[in-house]
């Protein structure tokens, strides 16, 4: 029967006294929390321990005073006399393992994977390490007595030299409540504005669900609502979530301010506005030339003249309309850029979403072209496949969802074959237009995708958790590491227990803030198939925000 004693390193050089701790009977281990020194009055000790254990909610403690140490005790807390280590070791030498742990680090650390809620002790018993960590973490009231207190008891633990506190943390705690109230008040005003009737009309609602700026605004509002509740965080996960949101919001605003500082000096805005209209003109000219090339003999292919001319003229007219629209807007562009740049004071994510929306609006004509080309191509492909079946004497059975043979009439076959040949010979023209505009559309989608990915990264990356992992690695523990301390034969085994910090990738995975992230709806194979058939692709799908 092996007995494990978890002994704090701070008590190694303490004077003799009573050991206070917790006995975990299921694992045959004892976690020593503090040493109470001689001289003491047993009544006082009992009173003190009852007072301390009354405040703890999860660890129950019953007091038992014994002169000799026996491993067969089945009480949940023991107090044993401890004259010297050597004496005890002579009793049962090979069956005791001393594990030295650093009390402060174990108390502050959180073992991963985090188990929320109270697990059922019968079906899923807590592991030994978890019980040990929980014991130390829940024994905070035991560590309040330091050596400058004039009470009847003198004890040794990690806070004996004086209670540890941080001014910044205390100041933040005091500043929390008025800040929460301010955020709550601002949010109520904003919610009132959003709920004005005029904004619930259908077109505005649809538009606001499509524009990424509005989506980002609603996402931010939701998380601000989470922050504005004055109750303290319940549990480690909630606390980390709140801290991550605050830190990423602050970093976002700081980056936005940096962008504003760069944008508004040296007339950058005027320069940008002056390059925007010529750039749009240049794009329109390039598209013009592209269409002229398609209308001629592109890459040596011979197009169907009539269809070519119709499609080419149709798209040329669209471009002409778009260019006149841009020229109409050109005097206002500088003003729009100036006021739009101010949105970056809310955060860099807003500036990026605004940019993405502006790109979407400016390239709306490319989107239209893509839709026209895709619809035409899709119709053609469906027509061709159906008429090909007719050509072979088969039919699509909708009821059975399969291809069946069918006997057609003579005139049906005649018309069908005629239409089939017509569509087949018109295929290269439509296919070429479709290919060109799909590529252009994919380019725009790629650029927007990069912007959305960076917005998502700023939103969801757990900066607080990562900086905690880098500066205080013992706070987030994946497990423990043991090191053998001394190897004299005949004495008990001494091990040093250190905290094994969580890997950085695991930190990101555990503490990632859930967002409305855009992720590809289809796999690559499905995407290529859709492109081939001519179905319209919406490559990014917005996930609805999950609330815990």
């Amino acid at each position: 029967m092996v007995l494990k004693i978890f002994f704090p390193q701070c008590c190694n050089r303490a004077d003799s006294g009573l050991l206070v701790g917790r006995w975990i009977s299921s694992q045959d281990s004892a976690v020593v929390l503090a040493v109470i020194h001689y001289p003491f009055i047993p009544g006082h000790v009992k009173q003190y321990i009852q007072q301390v254990s009354a405040e703890q909610t999860s660890v129950s403690a019953q007091v038992c005073i014994r002169d000799t140490f026996s491993p067969r005790l089945c009480l949940s807390c023991i107090v044993m006399t401890f004259e010297s280590q050597k004496e005890q070791e002579e009793e049962e030498e090979e069956k005791v393992i001393f594990v030295h742990y650093e009390q402060r680090k174990v108390m502050l650390s959180q073992l991963h994977p985090i188990e929320n809620g109270v697990p059922d002790p019968i079906t899923a018993p807590l592991s030994e390490l978890r019980q040990m960590f929980q014991t130390v973490a829940n024994s905070q009231p035991l560590f309040f007595l330091d050596r400058y207190d004039d009470g009847p008891l003198k004890s040794t633990h990690w806070q004996t030299e004086g209670r540890e506190a941080s001014i910044i943390v205390e100041l933040l705690k005091q500043a929390c409540i008025p800040l929460c109230m301010l955020i709550g008040w601002l949010l109520s005003i904003w919610t009132w504005i959003c709920n004005i009737r005029i904004f619930s009309l259908y077109p505005l609602r649809f538009l606001s669900s499509k524009l990424s700026t509005c989506v980002q605004l609603s996402y931010r509002t939701e998380y601000m609502r989470l922050l504005s509740s004055p109750k303290p965080a319940a549990g480690h996960t909630q606390f980390m979530r709140k801290a991550n949101i605050v830190v990423s919001f602050l970093v976002d605003v700081a980056l936005g301010m940096l962008l504003i500082w760069w944008l508004y000096r040296d007339n950058h805005i005027t320069m940008l506005a002056n390059t925007l209209v010529p750039a749009a003109d240049h794009v329109a000219k390039e598209l013009d030339e592209l269409l002229q090339w398609l209308m001629g003999a592109p890459a040596g292919l011979k197009m169907n003249r009539a269809l070519d001319q119709v499609l080419g003229r149709f798209f040329l007219y669209h471009i002409h309309l778009w260019i006149s629209y841009i020229h109409l807007m050109s005097p206002f562009i500088e003003g729009i850029l100036w006021y739009g740049g101010l949105s970056a004071c809310l955060g860099l994510t807003f500036a990026l979403s605004l940019l993405s929306d502006m790109v979407a609006l400016l390239t709306f004509h490319i989107y239209c072209f893509y839709v026209y080309g895709a619809r035409l191509y899709c119709l053609k492909i469906y027509g061709l496949s159906s008429l090909w079946r007719l050509f072979r004497g088969k039919k699509w059975n909708v009821l059975r969802q399969r291809v069946d043979s069918c006997s057609y009439d003579m005139d049906q076959l005649f018309i069908g074959t005629l239409l089939f040949t017509v569509l087949l010979f018109l295929l290269p023209t439509t296919a070429l237009y479709y290919l060109v505009f799909t590529l252009l559309r994919l380019l725009v989608v790629l650029f927007q995708g990069v912007l959305h990915l960076s917005v998502d990264f700023i939103n969801s990356f757990p900066l607080f958790a990562m900086s905690l992992r880098i500066t205080r690695p013992y706070r987030l523990a994946e497990g423990v590491k043991f090191r053998v301390l001394c190897e004299e034969p005949g004495t008990a085994l001494h091990l040093l227990m250190e905290i094994n910090p969580l890997k950085c990738s695991a930190v990101v995975q555990t503490y990632r803030t859930p967002t409305y992230s855009c992720y590809p709806k289809d796999s690559w194979a499905a995407l290529v198939k859709k492109l081939f058939v001519g179905e319209l692709i919406y490559p990014w799908r917005h996930k609805t925000t999950k609330t815990d």
């Binding site: 092996v2 494990k4 694992q27 045959d28 090979e94 069956k95 393992i97 594990v99 079906t123 899923a124 018993p125 592991s127 030994e128 390490l129 497990g479 423990v480 590491k481 043991f482 053998v484 190897e487 034969p489 085994l493 091990l495 094994n500």
Partner: protein, 180 residues
């Protein structure tokens, strides 16, 4: 401390160091031979000759500096992430098993598996292409069903010792685990 001539599955010599700290605890360290200076020099010379050949044709000095940079970065990444110096197994009766591998740059990765999760330590056979290799592994218990094996954690994956070395480690481990 024992040090016999063991080899890994590819024939390279490795060394096993068994330390028994007490009847409840023992440690096994398998060390792999270090990076040989000859190999490093051969690789470096090849890369630089290639870079010089490319420079000779393109007359662009960026090729040379990028070759140097790539060699240095590649070596640093190799010794930090790839090259394992030694792997160790620490068995502590009734507490658990600690598996750690230490890389050539000094980085150590450690995993500790508690005794309550361990079902057994066994030597498994695996068929890898034309060979049958033996490896030592830890079987983990399923929390809901104590008789089922939830996962298998292989040990000594980088050093891959042969059966004679594994049998030695296995016997000592079983002595400790069966006691508690």
């Amino acid at each position: 401390m024992e040090d016999e001539a063991f080899t890994d599955i590819n024939g390279k010599s490795i060394s096993l160091d068994c330390q028994s700290h007490s009847s409840l605890c023992s440690e096994f360290i398998v060390s792999v031979p270090k990076v040989s200076i000859g190999k490093v020099m051969v690789y470096t010379c090849c890369v630089w000759l290639l870079a010089y050949a490319v420079f000779f044709f393109t007359e662009n000095t960026a090729v040379l500096s990028s070759a140097i940079f790539i060699t240095l970065v590649g070596m640093m990444l190799h010794i930090h992430f790839v090259k394992v110096d030694h792997e160790s197994l620490l068995v502590i009766g009734s507490l658990g098993i600690q598996v750690s591998s230490s890389y050539a740059s000094g980085r150590e990765t450690t995993t500790f598996i508690e005794m309550s999760k361990i079902k057994d330590i066994v030597i498994n056979e695996a068929i890898y292409m034309h060979q049958i290799i033996y490896y030592l592994c830890v079987l983990l218990k399923e929390p809901s069903d104590p008789n089922a094996v939830s996962s298998v954690v292989p040990l000594f994956q980088s050093s891959k010792p042969r059966l004679n070395c594994l049998v030695k480690v296995y016997k000592s481990c079983q002595e400790i685990i069966s006691k508690c």
